[in-house]
């Protein structure tokens, strides 16, 4: 138990420091990299909680795929230009603070009320070994939670098609311009 606690404290320190560094860093590239570090540490938390599947997905999807696209965009835009915060929208900062506080409140409420669970979760070795394994997760997704699963995949499909449609429209608009250039 103490060994787990020591590892947790070390990881938690790294996670918090990475999150702070992400916020305070001048350079958008560094911010993105600190966020990746944060994601990586969170995935180690999942590993410690006996959820290897979610840990690996966290690395693949967030630290891998999504952040690569972020970096891609930041590099193409030029990271140096982003050093001065844009103040075009006057109500942006107050709104951000307000929404941040709301999120904090929700998190605090969840911790204080412990969701809907009144007693601590029943922990047995059997449940821990099966919990979060890809086999159990897949079974649950395709039986109990089939409907939400299908709806989510449908939403993702819609987003993908939307992205493709957007690029197509751009091309169609560009085409008539060509004769005027020549």
């Amino acid at each position: 138990m103490t060994l787990d606690l020591i590892i947790f404290l070390v990881l938690a320190t790294i996670a918090v420091l990475a999150a702070l560094a992400m916020l305070l860093s001048d350079n958008a590239i560094y911010s993105a990299l600190f966020l990746i570090l944060n994601f990586a540490v969170v995935s180690v938390f999942y590993l410690m909680l006996n959820a290897p599947f979610i840990a690996m997905v966290q690395v693949t999807v967030y630290a891998g795929a999504i952040m690569v696209l972020f970096l891609f965009v930041i590099m193409l835009l030029g990271a140096d230009k982003l050093r001065q915060p844009q103040t075009d929208i006057p109500w942006q900062q107050p709104l951000a603070i307000l929404l941040g506080l709301v999120l904090l409140g929700v998190a605090a409420f969840a911790i204080v009320s412990r969701g809907s669970v009144s007693a601590p979760l029943p922990l047995s070795d059997q449940m821990i070994s099966a919990f979060g394994s890809p086999f159990e997760l897949g079974k649950l997704l395709f039986t109990t939670y089939l409907f939400p699963f299908e709806v989510t995949s449908f939403l993702l499909l819609v987003a993908m098609i939307g992205a493709i449609v957007l690029t197509k429209e751009e091309k169609a608009k560009l085409l008539p311009r060509r004769p005027t250039k020549t």
Binding site: L3, I36, V59, T60, G64, V68, P134
Partner: protein, 355 residues
Amino acid sequence: MELKTLIEVSIAAAIKSGILIGVLLTSFAYMTLAERKVVAWMQVRIGPNRVGPFGFFQPVADGIKLFLKEELIPAEADRVLFILAPIITVIPALVILAVVPFGPAVDICLPATLSIPFEWGACYKVPLAVSDVNVGILFITSIASIAVYGIVLAGWSSNNKYALLGGMRSSAQMVSYEISMGLAMVGPVLVAGSMSLQRITLSQEKLWNVVTQPIGAIVFLLAILAEVNRAPFDMPEAEQELTAGYHTEYSGMKFALFFMAEYIKMVAVSAIATALFFGGYLGPFLNDVPSWLAGILGVIYFSAKTIFFLFCMLWIRATLPRLRYDQLMRFGWKVMLPLALASIAITAVFMAIAG
């Protein structure tokens, strides 16, 4: 977990990791020589033959040369990321093989003199893999997705337009082909009913996956070529267009690290292809011989298959010209992705029929 077992597990893992890294570094050194020799042979040249018999000590000479080179850092480069990028490139390459089994489990009995913290003269059943986790396939995809960062950061931090273009190309290419690679890996998972590479290997006892899923195997083999940026997909370092791509500004040992990562990745993906589609360490006589001999035989079968794929990579490099970038992207999205999906669908239907 009990402290004693924890110590035992950590020591076993440390020894195995040490052996694995040693083997990978040695194979990197000799892959560079093999590449030069094989390509020279295919182009009717002689290749390196000055240092030692048949150029056998050429890697040592190359290493010493690179150590003695001056290390330049461009004035406008981002120094921290410039130094960090080669390291970020090498580590995923070294880590990715941790879940691949190289042979069947062997019984190892410790000599009675070796005591702490192991039992005197105790026997252990040691699986010949650093770790056998039930999410092995996901581990491979997650490490592969991390591997992109080194190249992207190298390209950006160099503050050189060719390097940046190389980095951009590689990130787009690797992200695109990762999808086909990941989908091609679903087939073996379906057959084995598990994401552990040990289980996937054992599921091929009767028939290798390449026989039952030829499309998946071909898609996987092509996708790994693109993942390790080898010819004909070596866009990120297309000399004619980008000087040297993402490592244009690198010199000395930092350049050597990129070089090392490329060759180690070649070994790693060949080993993964072996485990997923070509029966891994399985081969004749494995069940008829004592455990220690089966272990040795398994490692020999595994290495032989891996070396065959490495040779194919060199062969392809000596044979095929580089694709154009738009051809590469079109091929990845319009040919590889549908083929990979079709392979999954066919495999799934057959698995459903077979029950």
